[in-house]
Symmetry: D2
Amino acid sequence: MSSVWGERIKLTIFGESRGEAIGIVIDGLPAGETVDIGQCQAELARRAPGHDELSSARKELDIARIISGLHNGMTTGAPLCAIIENIDADSEAQQPAIARPNHADYTAFIKYKGYADMRGGGHFSGRLTAPLVFAGSVARQILARRGVEISAAAIRIGNAESEQDTKNEILAAKANGDSVGGIVEVIAAGVPAGLGAPFFSSMESVLAGLFFSIPAVKGVEFGGGFALTQMCGSQANDQMCVEGGNIRFLSNNSGGIQGGITNGAPITARVAFKPTPSIAIEQMSVDLSTMQNATISTSGRNDPCVVLRAVPVVEACMAIGILDKWEH
Amino acid sequence: MSSVWGERIKLTIFGESRGEAIGIVIDGLPAGETVDIGQCQAELARRAPGHDELSSARKELDIARIISGLHNGMTTGAPLCAIIENIDADSEAQQPAIARPNHADYTAFIKYKGYADMRGGGHFSGRLTAPLVFAGSVARQILARRGVEISAAAIRIGNAESEQDTKNEILAAKANGDSVGGIVEVIAAGVPAGLGAPFFSSMESVLAGLFFSIPAVKGVEFGGGFALTQMCGSQANDQMCVEGGNIRFLSNNSGGIQGGITNGAPITARVAFKPTPSIAIEQMSVDLSTMQNATISTSGRNDPCVVLRAVPVVEACMAIGILDKWEH
Amino acid sequence: MSSVWGERIKLTIFGESRGEAIGIVIDGLPAGETVDIGQCQAELARRAPGHDELSSARKELDIARIISGLHNGMTTGAPLCAIIENIDADSEAQQPAIARPNHADYTAFIKYKGYADMRGGGHFSGRLTAPLVFAGSVARQILARRGVEISAAAIRIGNAESEQDTKNEILAAKANGDSVGGIVEVIAAGVPAGLGAPFFSSMESVLAGLFFSIPAVKGVEFGGGFALTQMCGSQANDQMCVEGGNIRFLSNNSGGIQGGITNGAPITARVAFKPTPSIAIEQMSVDLSTMQNATISTSGRNDPCVVLRAVPVVEACMAIGILDKWEH
Amino acid sequence: MSSVWGERIKLTIFGESRGEAIGIVIDGLPAGETVDIGQCQAELARRAPGHDELSSARKELDIARIISGLHNGMTTGAPLCAIIENIDADSEAQQPAIARPNHADYTAFIKYKGYADMRGGGHFSGRLTAPLVFAGSVARQILARRGVEISAAAIRIGNAESEQDTKNEILAAKANGDSVGGIVEVIAAGVPAGLGAPFFSSMESVLAGLFFSIPAVKGVEFGGGFALTQMCGSQANDQMCVEGGNIRFLSNNSGGIQGGITNGAPITARVAFKPTPSIAIEQMSVDLSTMQNATISTSGRNDPCVVLRAVPVVEACMAIGILDKWEH
């Protein structure tokens, strides 16, 4: 069960990078919700490469074709399926013989006994985040009508935190045939108190499960996160007061979640992306077809940094997670 | 669905801190596996409070009574249920009226409309991690026979990293009526390559979902984790070679997981615990029965630091997650 | 995943017939629902053997001890666990070497490689329906407050349809050392329209999945059921009209379910029970320890007919299935 | 959760009768399995209407386009998605205002608050069984290589049991503007002992859940089924002997399943289909847009009997259920 997710909202993701198409089925959406396809496409465009010198030169025209679940612009209550054709597929693409370090080439080879279609990264490709962004856009539109606003930003790229430094960091990596990672911070405001549950369906568990589904993510924290471990309880605790009949928290070190349940404060999380594993610099690896040592340099159309493109993916995961736990 | 977890191994956790008992049902265990109850009890003892001056003075005698699923010391294939009676229950305990900051008091009040039994933290209590430790011990014994060894340690408490500093840090917090958090690192060695899946069942998603089920956890990272965001790809990538016919990784920044699937290197993770929210220092809060501002000081039998006691809980989650994804 | 069920309401059943105890965890109950334990016990008593000459002479005192999830007589929202100790357990009981025909002895032996605790039928025993009845009673109490009334009856025992014939049929079977089966009909009135879904979560799929969980059930039908196959569409169709602003159906061949979704008419189902497999008449079988032919006669404390005792079990399944699909 | 099914094999079905396309995602297939698309198309052709005078005049060219999960004719281990375009869609089709009796028109109207796309039956249409047949064909090919053979037949149409009577029954119903139902019997031979589990994952529960997902199914029985209720235990029990070192059953009243687990004998089941609800004979109903009484006659392209076309659908459900519970 790798590609199905959720409790109320069920996501089923499918597709391979160089196959016919990729897509997603979203089950459990409430009926009668307007879906603005233009907004979905705008979100997909934010994720797509080829914008500028900072991302891959590949041009992916990610046009979502909605196959079911939408009628007269509104959800029908039946599963909503959208597919995105792989227009820019490279028919010459070959199965990679030499495992690219930190890719799924080796692990997929073991798990699927050599039968996985790993051209372009196959089902493991970051390209599969496009359907997630589509689903996230649908979820965000539904949540926006209920007062929830989600926004994310790259707060650090490599060692750079300002916008100009960020650009330089990426361009320097690109010039070196190297890559950089970074951190995306995401905030969901307007989330009501009472969503989630203790233990296995804690909002942290649900959201972390989604964030760690994004290729290249290696760390997730909520609210104060790892920094909380260096605070005293008296600093870390979010004190409360009543204001106009409502509870207000004097700080938000909990990131809007206590006991696994939302407390009405904004949900805040930070998601750590490792550097893109595909780099031009030559590295040691293994030819899986012969089990001989080899070297590999993955030049070509790869991104020196996927963090900027990952911002809408992180937003999508936040939206999907919240909608899944929405009460009523 | 808050208290049921898993794909092959299904866990169902139940109980409230001051109720009759707490416990767990483990479904999907292979039949014919020896369970050493002594070992289970030893793990429970590691988690229990009352050992020394560093933890709560409460004496919890966590004796697991196995009700089903074990016959002649071996698993039968039927669900294994264990319960732990709440011997040390305080019958005088009252529902807390004033929400303790950073506890689940407020969120549970909202979600369960005032009906949750929150005495001693209720179902949200850290006490509920005892059944998790029991299940983890069963899982560890099964995995150990398959060559997997799991061990964890507190690598930082507050700002202290050495053992003596750690002790001082905790005692200082205790003296101040305050509390501290920390980081637990866990390593699973001997895990075969090929476990897990891309996307929603990635080993990171599965394990993070479990780690974030532990009360007080606010951050999780694998391998290099957040530090990877400041490395170049050429540093972060785990290069590979063939050694004696087997793949060997020259580093383990991936924490044993690539593309969501284990690569045969040890799985490594770090789990961040916030400081214990119960402190003697007075804090601002709200009386939920009157919705008036109030102050609260949670003196008494609370731990100034739960991180040391959480070590076997983190190990348990690692064991359960791996066993759930075990192939054959 | 054999012992966990449900979408909103999660059931986890555990225990073996001659083990320490049997029980169930019910997760997902709304908070603040009163549970009348006396009513639960009354339902358990209806299922228990030893009432009269028509059932087994075994005395099972099925006292449900509630361990969690209930406080001040009301659900807390946390998982509700109840256990029933196996008081009447026969400590002399041996693993059966000769497989009893139509029991699970052989299939359990294969699946669990000889490690299943099959004393008294083990986890496969009809005794495990007691926890189901308990959970069903809780569900029925909650549904009753929402206007749903569930009742079942044995409409045929062997070839007998009247009460006196039924008694004679059972006593004759008992005298012959033989057994009989029968049909239980169940009706749920007051179910609102709109519960369930097309395809895999159709109300028929959900309820049939539960009914076929009851040991000895080999057939399930809804509304007209098998008899519908001999009607014309013009007879079978439930015509509709408006009456006092509400939809009324002129017949109920659909058994209250159309397109997998309730239509507001009573849900009706019939459940077929095979004859009790344990009989005194000698039969051919196999000694699984030696794989030699053998004969077996299961005399003793067995019921010549379980259908009457199964009535509350069928009601329980109906209640659980409806509550699982309840909207709000 | 209406459209997602399964434990090891996850099915996600989508599409509406007059929407763009229908389809299915199959997750959890083993990698390296050859899929013969010709065979899939042959199964789809068996289900398609327009063959002869016995079925609807609609011509549906059900061509499955495989979008993912297949490479070089073999499964890759990634989710396999197939879509079937709705070529014969009737763009003039209108939402039905008057609820067709025994259709989902009314129940969908209630559940989806009037937003369901019910043109041609929408997501509730029998047309959605085409993707099921596709998935079943993939499953059957995999199972065939493991020795499992599945075949079904209509054993009764209305009151007719011979082939000529069947034809006359259908033609008579057609001439009358009426319809008939019937019973499909399905047998799976070569299934190994040990698949399934007691209680909620019993093979009967799993298979019944699938069979009742097929629109128009109102009854399911295994082995002797309802007829077992009129046998004595001594007749109903399947006695056993050893033959050539293997267990042989002298009868198969259990339908190959005991205690929810396969016993190695063929799995046998019978599935009852109600008569097609769409008939030309005028019937009483309600105009849902005005809540006024109305009459309706559903003339046109409907089948007087869907049972013959349902035969491959029943086979598909059997194959999917067995593959989901396959061990290794």
